[in-house]
Amino acid sequence: MDLLTALYSCSEKATYGCKVKGGSLTKLAYYSTVQHKVARVRSFDHSGKDIEHEPLYEISVQEEITARLHFIKFENTYIETCLDFIKDHLVNTETKVIKATGGGAYKFKDLIEKKLGLKVDKEDVMTCLIKGCNFVLKNIPHEVFAYQKDSDTEFRFQTNHPNIFPYLLVNIGSGVSIVKVETEDKFEWIGGSSIGGGTFWGLGALLTKTKKFDELLQLASKGQHTNVDMLVKDVYGGAYQTLGLSGNLIASSFGKSTTADKEFSKEDMAKSLLHMISNDIGQLACLYAKLHNLDKIYFGGFFIRGHPVTMRTITYSINFFSKGEVQALFLRHEGYLGAIGAFLKGAEQDNPNQYSWGENYAGSSGLMSTSPDVFPMQRTRSGTFDMFEMDRLERPLVNLPLLKDPSTYIPDTVDLTDDAMARKYWLTCFEEALDGVAKRAAASQPDSIDASERAEKFRQKYWNKLQTLRQQPFAYGTLTVRSLLDTREHCLNEFNFPDPYSKVKQKENGIALKCFQSVIESLDSLGWEERQFALVKGLLAGNVFDWGAKAVSDVLESEPQFGFEEAKSKLQERPWLEDSYSQWLERLKEGPPHKCALIFADNSGIDIILGVFPFVRELLSRGTEVILACNSGPALNDVTYSESLIVTERIAAMDPVIQSALREEKLLLVQTGSSSPCLDLSRLDKGLAVLVRERETDLVIIEGMGRAIHTNYYAALKCESLKLAVIKNSWLADRLGGKIFSVIFKYEVPCK
């Protein structure tokens, strides 16, 4: 294992679990190469073989090495154990230096150097912090949130803005630093205040004789500041109307304690102190934001970190002083910024910024989890560890160039953090489907002796994630059907089930290929208008075959003969639930052929072969070039890029239209960069984006429930788009005002 590490150590106190004695925390960031299993497909050499009874292609499971960034947080008492762990894994002797930052970097310098035989290289705290901040802002979806105490959704996650600069970072440690960040490398300390977390803690300890920061916050949340503070109404008898100052505003903090003969409760004093400090910081932050003309203010530092109480008071203050013009923003991984930054400093020669990264939901314990996953080496002790993992993606991800407004694009249709009814339904839905998924995972590896054991571990892990999400829907950012699906994929991968559907897909692809020619023949026998409708119906019917939806997997398991024709008959009759077919037909009839169509494919088998390909073939015949985009990695029974290569090759062997299109590069196969059953158009493979631009793509076709309904239903594009899906979930159908197997056919033309 190649291990690059960075330590971030500071005087922050453990913030979770009252039973645990609070000690200082150290954050460790390390970069490892992780070996995991991936499913690969490879064409057989068919020469001279009986291809009738052989599977279409070969599936093999191989070991692959990917890079992963790990961040862990632990109490300083475990530093030696932690260093042992690093030492055990530090096989790469080229690493001579460990980057460290924060106060603890000085404290543990000798210990680290002795234990690891590495030189400790201290990095500037603020430089690391900013570096880390830029990194998470760029790489982690839903990193940023606003806090709203009295709303249903306490945490309101923000869409990642394509341009993160400029912003203001207000770091509230013992004092306050206000830093303006203008570019990746350019930041400036524009001010600060000595009234910060240390003032709350130090003054609080003097006033209440309570020693711990957390306990002070607890006291504060129980107190009544109006007993200690002089309010406007204490001076005026009511509001100060000429200025519009409410009677409840604080006129003078601690203004009522100007007497030696009255006792004040600890709770009330702590509360008053909290308000005083939060308001002061908020006011200064607003003044600095105004002076520098900035509207994004991120708050961090131990005063904020994971404390709803302080997030609430800071939010209130910013709102008050900016008159609602500026929003206080917080970061999910704020506590890791220094460690991430120190790590990035150390890894500069590897240039981690050139890659895209994805949060690994399986390996991360989430925002304010009460039951953080136990660090592997600490399983026997009660763990107070918090973890966060990011996988380095093979290729950089970028926005689809055709997005109308990347800064407001939200992939997900329903925000489950917001919608409690929908959240309950989907969590239950995923819980109910879990046994089946685990069973299928075990069954997918019949030759492995520990498959059922791993499947059970997977089941347990995902079950726990679902329970965490029931309690804290905001744990990993905005909860969506997509994040639930992705978390399941990450958990399956974690237990070495890289592709549980590989055999099913292989079989279905084989069956569908056998039917391809007859489907084409019957389509070709139709008149033009009839054929257009048949093509669309074929696309929709193909999409009924989806192992991801429970209703369908039931049918498929019990009635394997459920065929293409039967699927067509199940479809809703027109008018469909969402039906702009007539406009689409009109467009085909009247308008010029499209220059280039980008198609996001969904399932393997009947869907891609009998639904998508005939459609592609028709487009090609019209003179439209086609970019067919498939997932880079497996997810459910979705067709992967490598599978699509084999399938296309086989179709080309049967069909001259496809064959010549491939040869002339009018049909191009690309990967999406994703391994999700859903689709995030703001995180797509760079190669795809380049091609889309080069070929002047003017039509985007998105099919399937995951990509066109759970995500992108409302996505606005700069060009024409077609979103089609069959709703295979009765609850969702009901929500949209239809029945199961209702059809969505949404053809959109951007308004000029």
């Binding site: 300390w189 910060g196 006129a251 903090s253 304690s257 003969d261």
Partner: protein, 368 residues
């Protein structure tokens, strides 16, 4: 009858703040024999009582050193007296007015500050007196401009500190505020109000903070057990805040060059108090000093930001927090000068907290 005499004596201006009541009283010195004859007994006794004493009851104080002599107001010559007492003695004050049949004098009592609203009902029911309520910011600005224009018995009302960054060479010098606009007016009472003043009539309240004089005094009472503002200041003058605060050099061993922060700057107010040992080793005086420094620096910092945002480079600090508080004034002068690299000037006025009351008195005379 001369026109100027229309306004009947006594002439008072009252500013009822959150902590202190400020009273200005104009003592006419040009009373003719005829007038003296006509003067009712009540009025005479009020005049005698106020001008012959320097303390009233156990808490009322006349700031003799601030008295403005031979002032001409509305055609009358006289002295202006400055009196203060705690707001919690307001009921006793009203009671006294009632006992002395103040209402029989048929004068208008002009009052400003929050208490003008809060105690209006009490004045009416207990004292049979109708208050003329005035906005405190209007009065404040009127008072500042007036007192500055008449000067302080031949001396300048406004002053500043030269070389505030140099303890040895620092000295108080008069400042000519003849052409005052625009200016930032920072009024530090129990809380703080910050006004941007562009002309006599044109001003706006920029912001305010609840960390003011009340906070200093309130925290000092809790931390040291003191019971008066004077006591708190006295303690502060003997303390060392660097034992309580965490300085930049405590963290970085010296200056934090990356950010251009000097080692002596406070990084975290009360930051050393996070440690148990250090909590046990500091004195009450140290705590009082740290409280004073914390509150003062914070006001300086907010004032500086407002001045920058409003593009104003003169900042006038007033309010009773600055009374007998040279530590804070020097600190403000120093902080403004240092952090603005000499661009901002901190100015102070001799009559610190009395401008609202003066403004109220001027309103009384102006409305005649």
């Amino acid at each position: 009858y001369k026109l100027v005499n229309l306004k009947v004596f006594p002439w008072f201006g009252l500013d009822i703040g959150g902590t202190l009541v400020k009273l200005v009283y104009f003592e006419p010195k040009d009373i003719t024999a005829e007038e003296e004859e006509e003067e009712v007994e009540n009025l005479k006794s009020i005049r005698k009582y106020l001008t012959s004493n320097v303390a009233y009851g156990s808490t009322g104080i006349r700031d003799v050193h601030l008295e403005l002599k031979d002032l001409t107001l509305c055609g009358r010559k006289g002295n202006l007296h400055f009196i203060r007492f705690p707001t919690h003695d307001m009921p006793a004050f009203i009671q006294m007015g009632s006992e002395k049949h103040f209402s029989s004098l048929h004068t208008t009592l002009c009052a400003t500050g929050g208490g003008a609203y809060k105690f209006e009902q009490d004045f009416r029911t207990m004292g049979d007196l109708q208050l003329c309520k005035l906005d405190e910011l209007d009065c404040l600005i009127k008072g500042v401009l007036y007192i500055d224009s008449v000067g302080f018995n031949g001396r300048s009302e406004c002053y500043y500190f030269e070389n505030p960054t140099d303890a040895e060479r620092c000295q108080k010098l008069p400042f000519n505020l003849e052409n005052p606009y625009p200016l930032l007016l920072v009024n530090i009472g129990s809380g703080v109000s910050i006004l941007a003043v562009y002309s006599k009539e044109n001003y706006k309240r920029v912001t305010g903070t609840s960390l003011g004089g009340g906070t200093f005094f309130g925290l000092c009472c809790l931390l040291t057990g003191c019971s008066t503002f004077e006591e708190a200041l006295e303690m502060a003058s003997h303390g060392d805040s660097t034992k309580v605060d965490k300085l930049v050099r405590d963290i970085y061993g010296g200056d934090y060059e990356r950010f251009g922060l000097p080692g002596w700057a406070v990084a975290s107010s009360f930051g050393n108090m996070m440690s148990k040992e250090k909590r046990e080793s500091v004195s009450k005086e140290d705590l009082a000093r740290a409280t004073l420094v914390t509150i003062t620096n914070n006001i300086g910092s907010i004032a500086r930001m407002c001045a920058l945002n409003e593009n104003i480079n003169r900042v006038v600090f007033v309010g009773n927090f600055l009374r007998i508080n040279t530590i804070s004034m020097r600190l403000l002068a120093y902080a403004l000068d240092y952090w603005s690299k000499g661009q901002l000037k901190a100015l102070f006025l001799e009559h610190e907290g009395y401008f609202g009351a003066v403004g109220a008195l001027l309103e009384l005379l102006g409305s005649a």
